[in-house]
Symmetry: C2
Subunit: 230 residues, 2 copies
Amino acid sequence: MTVAARRGRSPEGRAEVRRDLVAAAVELFRVRGYEDTTVDDIAAAAGVGRRTFFRYFRSKEDAISPDHETALARVAEVFETAHPTEPSAPLVLRAGETVFDIYADDPRLSVDRYRLTHEVPALRDRESASVDHYRRLFTRYLRRRFAGDPDGDLRAAVIGAAVVAAHNLALRAWLAAGAPADGMEACRERFRRVAEMLPGEPAGDDDLHAVTQRLEQAVVRLERTTPPEH
Amino acid sequence: MTVAARRGRSPEGRAEVRRDLVAAAVELFRVRGYEDTTVDDIAAAAGVGRRTFFRYFRSKEDAISPDHETALARVAEVFETAHPTEPSAPLVLRAGETVFDIYADDPRLSVDRYRLTHEVPALRDRESASVDHYRRLFTRYLRRRFAGDPDGDLRAAVIGAAVVAAHNLALRAWLAAGAPADGMEACRERFRRVAEMLPGEPAGDDDLHAVTQRLEQAVVRLERTTPPEH
DNA sequence: AGCGTAACGGCACTGCGTGCCACTGTACAA
DNA sequence: TTGTACAGTGGCACGCAGTGCCGTTACGCT
């Protein structure tokens, strides 16, 4: 305990204890199962007291996704520092890329977490809640941006939900494949295709031009579409 | 206790006990707060033992949204009994309407639940998980329907998420207003507008016609759009 | 060297959720 | 009518998550 007491004093020490706790939790969950692992087990494996565990994580589930708040803040920063005239589509795409970066930072841990969250119902539901936090963040920003537009709230809700869903689809496919380093670009490209499915700018009084432009884009996309191979 | 023991015997008795428990839970949560209400309190208020509570509900949170599974099954039935040639857009709209029906069945209870789930973080996260179950259901069905299409999975994910998000937007606006009887139609209409934002059928080899049709629709929509009032 | 501070471990407590069991009212058979 | 199988109930005890409290201990600062 003397060692542990010393470890937590400096900021580096705290980070080390935190890493040990996450590693112990993930390993124990993987080997012994989530339900059959107690907080005592995790704390003991990391060499700290049970009470200390709860000083690092709010709950047992928290040990699995401890960076959620940080990731959320990073995405929020992307929105806040964006140039006001930047179109919405590339911006939400850029925000999504930020999340990819976080997951790609530690692929092994990401894969372990992915498997756990898709096997344990309790963690699965928690994951849903986390994803919904992202959805709300996207939607909140878009709602501000579309304020005053006809159906602005609806467009914000739809685009926010759609982007997050596409993001998860791409991310989970990559994780299910074991998060290969050479698969990340395909993941990102898959995500970007959502942009083609988003509803465009609302039709105002004077932008019939925009509508015809959308048609042109659609025709161009049509021409370069290769026929499906079946 | 003799009374309670008798109540639970017949199917009607079980339904009655169930209703009493839900009513007691909602009322206690509303008056005393969710965290400050124990399962003992709920059981005592309903006149049954604490152990019996857990025979009716899996958890304390379950007492708030006990019909989730039923509602999910009802929506699944809409998808399964749908005619194979029915277009996707009206079908997912119809599935959404089904959920409206369920909420409109007991507006008072729906409003109480809405307020609770938006004030208590634990219930809020649980609500996210529930909503995600709907999203998965929608997406699963659409994925089967789009199987083989280019970007079929992506379209399914996007449309499923978008429809559920729009549904929640409309539903929550109605609930936040106190679920007025004369506001339900506006709620439904608001939900239906999501159909205009959904990506159309994928551009194949021979459906340039569909694209031009979408343009025509867009122009028509443009013409009947009243200018925003700001 | 002395002192304030902050993180630690341990303890006790509340409350959720579950396994177990004895009890009781009900339905059905002898 | 009496006996019996059964299903739902309440109570008890237990494990575990999460929290408040407190004495202890190591580190930084003066």
